[in-house]
């Protein structure tokens, strides 16, 4: 059940629109509900061949030899594709936006770095024939030590996973093994806090689990071109990646897709198209390359696991004054997109709250597991889990209502964020107020009347000398971080790491008489909070 709250922020919108805002039925709904929408795998071509992949059974091993002679003679087998057949075998997805070094082979030649890494491809007249021929390939391996834990991978002497990044961390800006975020002086601020909470959070990897598994069909066209029917969720991204790996011009490839049975981030990696195109080039026939459910589950890239440590410092009036985060993204054996997620994660710290001292180090770590990739909420989902569990613990530690605690610390228009940009167009407070109202969760009057549009300003770092002043910070008026609600001075901390022994004083300022009507963010109340500005 969905309710549109048009009353809130109404003065910022022009609602005089004809088509926008209507619950118009989807353009493609008839095709979808009658099962006639064409997906990539609804296309069939005369003489279509099928590509299946031999995968490593080891998490880390040197390949001593590969004997595919029996497989080559197997019934239905048309072609075996080896690493040497791939024109540009080493690639990294984000090379398209000049981020990171080529580190992942399409087919492994000397070393396998995760269980399931592709080694050779077999093209045959049916999936079954290809599958049966795979069983005839003999590969001998020398197993190597493997590492699976992100913090173990950073220890001296840990197995080196990826030769492009031998220290098991992605390299940022040519000099750091992590992405930094520095704002104010968190370590100095902890010493002045009444409550400090230090916790460890661990996400599990998860599957995208789309109804339609990854796949594509490459069809030789006239004039040296190839038509590729694909499940990709990024058409040109996959086209350009495929062109690079096959050393082709982008206009030799004609990609067709656009109707996809669920992606959630798992169809950006271009897992099947490059080798399907190569197979079609080598055989002159249409080639389908699709992952089985088993392959999708075991070897299709998952959402990576993340480990996050958060240390928060708070004064007894409920203001968070320092947040320190150390996060590890488990990228698996190769980079794919995790390096990007680590930067996005750093940008998201400390969450939608105004905290004057923030310190974060975010690592993208290589381990001997299936390379991770983007998934819904990439770089943010795990952090939000950790931050919001942490917010609940902080509220509990000082006996504050968890919604009031969030509203108190929420960012407002004009606040300075840790990445040194001014917060604008905020609405966290209003969401909290409306959800509380709908769920009959009682919050006090003054919290019902707070607004994202009032009471914000750049929260000055406690030690401004420690950072270069940013453009916005220099222009914004400075104010104490706790003067939104409590005018009471902070009491000296009994011990920096002990929780406050008794509940903190409630916000001492009495609430002015509530005006009638909706109060959500309406500008007529600015005078109420204007009086609290210092």
């Amino acid at each position: 059940m969905l309710e549109l709250r048009k009353d809130i922020f109404a003065d910022e919108r022009d609602d005089n629109l004809k088509e926008i805002g209507k619950p118009t039925a989807r353009q493609d709904i008839l095709g979808h509900v009658t099962g006639t929408s064409p997906y990539y795998d609804d296309h069939r071509f005369a003489g279509m061949l099928h590509l299946k992949i031999l995968r490593s059974p080891h998490a880390h091993a040197r390949i001593r030899s590969i004997d595919d002679s029996a497989a080559a003679r197997a019934p239905g087998v048309k072609r075996i594709i080896r690493a040497a057949d791939v024109p540009v075998n080493l690639n990294t997805l984000l090379s398209l936006i000049q981020f990171g070094k080529d580190d992942e082979p399409s087919l492994a030649s000397d070393v396998v770095r995760y269980k399931g890494e592709p080694i050779i491809g077999i093209v045959a007249t049916s999936e079954r024939a290809a599958q049966e021929a795979l069983a005839l390939v003999r590969v001998s391996y020398d197993p190597l030590p493997a590492v699976f834990d992100v913090e173990e991978a950073l220890k001296p002497g840990a197995a080196s996973v990826n030769p492009t990044y031998p220290k098991n961390t992605f390299e940022y800006y040519g000099k750091y093994d992590h992405q930094k975020l520095r704002y104010g002086d968190a370590d100095a601020a902890f010493a002045k806090c009444d409550v400090v909470i230090d916790e460890r959070y661990q996400m599990s990897p998860i599957e995208h689990a789309p109804t339609e598994t990854n796949g594509s069909i490459a069809v030789p066209d006239t004039n040296g071109r190839f038509v590729v029917h694909t499940s990709t969720q990024a058409l040109f991204f996959s086209l350009d990646t495929s062109a690079k790996i096959n050393a082709m011009q982008s206009n030799q490839l004609h990609f067709i897709g656009g109707t996809v049975g669920g992606g959630f981030g798992g169809k950006v990696d271009t897992l099947t198209e490059p080798l399907a195109i190569l197979a079609a080039r080598l055989t002159g026939a249409p080639v389908r390359h699709r992952l089985s459910r088993h392959e999708e589950m075991q070897f299709g890239s998952p959402r990576g696991a993340e480990r996050i440590y958060i240390k928060d410092g708070m004064t007894r009036d409920g203001r968070i004054v320092a947040r320190k985060v150390r996060a590890y993204f488990d990228s698996g054996a190769y980079t794919r997109l995790s390096s990007y997620a680590a930067v996005k994660c750093a940008a998201h710290i400390p969450g939608p709250y105004t905290i004057p001292n923030v310190h974060a180090d975010v690592y993208c770590v290589f381990t001997n597991r299936t390379p991770a990739t983007a998934m819904r909420g990439f770089g943010v989902t795990a952090l939000d889990f950790a931050l919001e569990c942490q917010m609940d613990k902080l509220a509990t530690a000082i006996g504050m209502d968890p919604i009031e605690f969030r509203i108190l610390n929420a960012y407002r228009d004009g606040d300075m964020k840790a990445h040194r940009r001014e917060a604008k167009n905020c609405a966290l407070i209003e969401c909290a107020q409306v959800a509380a109202e709908k769920a009959n969760w009682p919050i006090r009057e003054e919290y019902k009347r707070m607004s994202s549009r009032n009471g914000g300003a750049a929260a000055a770092p406690h030690a401004p000398a420690a950072i270069a002043p940013s453009r916005q910070a220099a222009a914004a008026p400075q104010r104490a971080p706790y003067d939104r609600v409590s005018a009471a001075p902070t009491q000296p901390a009994p011990s920096p790491t002990q929780p406050a022994p008794s509940p903190p004083p409630r916000a001492p300022q009495p609430a002015p008489a509530a005006p009638t009507g909706s109060s959500h963010g309406a500008p007529r109340f600015s005078s109420v909070f204007g009086t609290r500005r210092r």
């Binding site: 926008i20 656009g258 940008a347 989902t381 889990f385 919001e388």
Partner: protein, 342 residues
């Protein structure tokens, strides 16, 4: 055996588009000689409604009925470049590109109509029903169809437009992390109510109540579809899913949907949603995008509700019955809730 109820909350925001920008999308809009418009894109419809949202944006901008617009997408020979459907960027990035293309096409359409009606184009308006008329004198009007015929066969004009939207790539300061990650953010608050069985460790989600601020709900039904589906995914992530149940141990990986546990129809709970609209200054009609974020608040809200129900904190996902029971054992039993209400 006792079943304990509790409620938990989470508030989150979410950046719209690729982090740091630098992710362009293009659109082309043109009319056929009957005044029907085609939007050519290469963006992907993953089921989220990309085609429908861009169709509404195009119709609104052109000032024509939605039936007169069709979105053709994801053919690299005909659709101009788009970075892709990810990072909650479709509505914001592609929507803006479509809006720009439709504005350019509309300008030609109004010029062609002005020539036919022998008036200044600035004195014309669309009625949203397929006609162009003189402001204040609606009897002087011409159909979009007749304008398209005239443009094609008499005036030699192409009623078409090109659009691109690009948030320029931001630098990152390696020392401080100073950067411009995104131009706008969506917001949410979600309250989960759960029941925890202290004998089996089972957690049942009874109800979710949420408020989402999304700039503008361009199509409320598509928004609802996203928010309901995303909440399911969040609940699944919190309580059910993992290919590595004892991460970092790589064993026990599931191979299919029998072994990979996700909530079924009987596990879904009622979800009461409010949508707020604080328009983004650079969004198409103010829109941001609900795509990714709607799974995010569910995870911590459920974890916090479990604490409220039985007094244990679970910092590792997924929160399986095994983890709940181990935590209850370590605590010496369940605490009683202070916040539950149905």
């Amino acid at each position: 055996m006792t079943k304990h109820r509790g409620r938990g909350v989470a508030t989150v925001n979410y950046p719209i588009g690729m982090n740091l920008g630098g992710d362009p999308s293009q659109a082309l809009v043109h009319s056929n000689p009957s005044g029907k418009f085609t939007v050519a894109l290469s963006s992907i419809d993953l089921g989220q409604g990309m085609k429908s949202v861009t169709r509404q944006i195009c119709a609104e901008t052109l000032g024509v009925p939605i039936e007169d617009v069709y979105v053709d997408t994801a053919d690299s020979d005909t659709g101009p470049h788009c970075m892709g459907s990810f990072a909650s960027r479709g509505t914001h990035r592609v929507g803006n590109a479509v809006m720009a293309a439709a504005r350019e096409a509309r300008a030609v359409m109004m010029e062609a109509a002005a020539e036919e009606l022998e008036v200044d184009a600035n004195d014309l308006e669309t009625d949203g029903r397929g006609n162009i008329r003189v402001k204040g004198a609606p009897q002087r009007s011409i159909s979009v169809r007749d304008v398209a015929v005239a443009a094609q066969f008499r005036q030699g004009k192409t009623i078409s437009g090109r659009g691109i939207f690009l948030v320029p790539l931001s630098d990152v300061d390696p020392e401080t992390g100073e950067m411009s990650p995104a131009t706008c953010y969506a917001h949410a608050c979600l309250i989960a109510e759960v029941e925890v069985d202290d004998e089996t460790g089972d957690v049942t989600v009874l109800k979710m109540t949420s408020a989402y601020e999304l700039g503008r709900a361009l199509n409320p039904k598509l928004v609802e579809q996203q928010l309901v589906g995303g909440a399911w995914m969040g609940m699944s992530h919190a309580l059910y899913e993992t290919p590595e149940p004892y991460y970092p141990d790589t064993r026990n990986g599931p191979r299919d949907f029998n072994e990979y546990l996700m909530p079924g129809p009987g596990d879904i709970c009622p979800h009461d949603i409010a949508v707020l609209e604080r328009p983004a200054p650079d969004g198409p009609f103010g829109a941001k995008g609900p795509g990714e974020m709607c799974a995010n608040p569910v995870l911590p809200a459920i974890a916090n509700a479990i604490f409220n129900a039985v007094g244990v904190r679970l910092n590792e996902l997924p929160i399986t019955p095994e983890r709940v029971l181990r935590a209850l054992k370590a605590r010496g039993g369940a605490a009683s809730s202070t916040r539950a209400r149905s």
